[in-house]
Amino acid sequence: MKQLMLGNEAVARGLFEAGCSFVSSYPGTPSTEITEAVAKFQEVYAEWAPNEKVAMESAFGASLSGRRSFCAMKHVGLNVAADPLFTIAYTGVNAGLVIGVADDAGMHSSQNEQDSRHYAKAAKIPMLEPSDSAEAILFTKTAYEISEKFDTAVLLKMCTRVSHSQSVVETGERKEFFKPYEKNPGKYIMMPGNAKKRHPIVEERTKALTEYAETSSLNVLEEGTSNEMGFITSSTSYQYVKEVFGNTYPVYKLGMVWPLPVKAIKNLAEKVEKLIVVEELDGFIEEHCASIGVKVFGKEIFPCIDELSQNKVASLLGKEVSCGPALSENIPNRPPVMCAGCPHRSLFYTLKKNKLNVLGDIGCYTLGAVPPLAAMDTTICMGASVSGLHGFNKNSENESRSVAVIGDSTFMHSGVTGLINVAYNDSNSTVIILDNSITGMTGHQQNPTTGMNLKGDPAAKIDLEALCRAIGIKRVRVIDPYDLAQCNEAVKEELAAKEPSVIISRRPCALLKYVKHQKPLTVDKEKCRNCKMCMQIGCPAISITDGKAKIDNTLCTGCGVCKQLCKFDALKGE
């Protein structure tokens, strides 16, 4: 039966059908729904790991034990997991191991737009790249066959437009798979003596995979009616090329983007007058073509910045594109904002009011960087707030006016190691853990601090206070961020203290289903003097209409933070 399926759900379907039985991932847009979807199959064990490195190592262990296994992450997550990746390349696998990685060209929800294909080449691991949901199912299954045939982990590369687009698929049956573990120290213990013997095997494997790439059905040459031009492309770029040119010119569509074929590309180059590589981000395929002596046009036409689209492909290749009418009116932007009732808001207001340096991290609370709160100095990567603060503070005068802010999930991911450094190397830093009891940004995933696992069952719950104390932080205190006075007092006292400290700002995300909201606040128009103090916190539920504060009843959660700012008692709530 035909059905519409999201690209990420299609990967999950492919995992199910391939008989995969172990999945471990850390959430990250645009990869998150793969793991959420696969968790719905009873036959597949699926979990959220604290970070991508743990996820990949766990998936490797499961492969070793004989089960087809999988881990998913976003592009920057692969940086975290790069350490096991490069050595798993040497050991190979037992049962198939597939590593899903989703790039985010255009940075819809990311801090950079790195191109994951470089990892495939650098780690010498094959990479498949589907261009729609039907291929996502097929390629996931093919990835396991390649993994076992060539004794290698296989990278499955997604991107925002493939992950988050629904297209038509047909599903198949699940086939169970098991391959018993056999001890093999020479293969699995990567100390120098063994690894030296494995490296030549890796190089031979890449040669064999290159041969496979020449004739594999993953790479398809679609003939055209004219040889004036020809294209090499993959993934969503393929869709844009076909959208613009249909079947006019030959298109060599790569389903396997590493290793890349040589003979097939040379053959195409001889046939067409002008060979054009269309790929998002870096000129990865283009560089390969150059390295085998094939002249192609690529990044001199297409930018290595941002996503492509059909109009970009058309206009950059000289085709005219039309545009609808634009209004002469200035249309104000609508940037994402912290939700009404967000427990992070009041904390950031406190940091701003105290004019602090704030080393930030990755999560919803990165929105604390935008006006009117504008209370953040840095955002780099998962965990960088805590370790960055240590360096910022150590042997400097910053320690009394600088803090790190990090969410509960991000702290478990890689903030905890930074805090160990703060304690061990004693930098008198104040770290604020924004504990909203969920992984928020990616759409409410459980984590080791929430007491629930991916399947929604009760799980061990990390005691953050005890953990911080065990690390060696003596000053650990918990505050309710809805209480502005408490926030202010805690921040002032901990910054004044002459030793490292942790403030746990604890209140569940206002969007969690179990969180009960209070009645919306009301405005006493007689008392409101339009001082706009309530506007300082950037709450989307508050606006000024006709010179008076106005509360949007549909948005207000009754958190009461604005009420604490009003000097004229004009805001009323329970």
């Binding site: 847009t29 200035n330 904002v337």
Partner: protein, 190 residues
Amino acid sequence: METKNIMIVGVGGQGSLLASKLLGRLLLTKGYDIKVSEVHGMSQRGGSVVTYVRFGDKVYSPIIDKGEADFIVSFELLESSRYTEYLKKGAKVITNTQQVNPMPVIVGAAEYPENLVEKMKNAGIDVDALDALSLAEEAGNSKAVNLVLLGRLSKYFDFTDEEWMTAIEQSVPPKFLELNKKAFELGRNA
């Protein structure tokens, strides 16, 4: 059939994902090739959100580019105005007249433009504007704006009432079915 393009735009959290899901279901039963592209993650937090729905004999690109949209269905007035460049000639804008102030307007850094429906019409755009929020409230829940707008969109397609109703039944929880059907009817007949 040439590919038809529908853009569904609005403010994160307004329920545009249900609208695209329902449309997708309906189009699938009609045997079309379909692509529906959504935005997840950070943009959802009260930001401007866009969903692309494309259908035809063969659909390649998952996104709709400037000059390609046959319809823009907008949950919020400012958002319909933001995307007019995506319209092709003869296209239609179906917009809720509800206004949701974006943060730059809330903090006083920008003004919410006035008379946007008129301005779009003056720019030669075919606009079908309706107070979908009031109609949704009339149906019983302000969250049914999505069904009101789909009801309005249905006027411009040849699908039967029965086909729409089946798609609604497949897409909303049973206890909200009557409410959603009513919202759809109100939008269709408004």
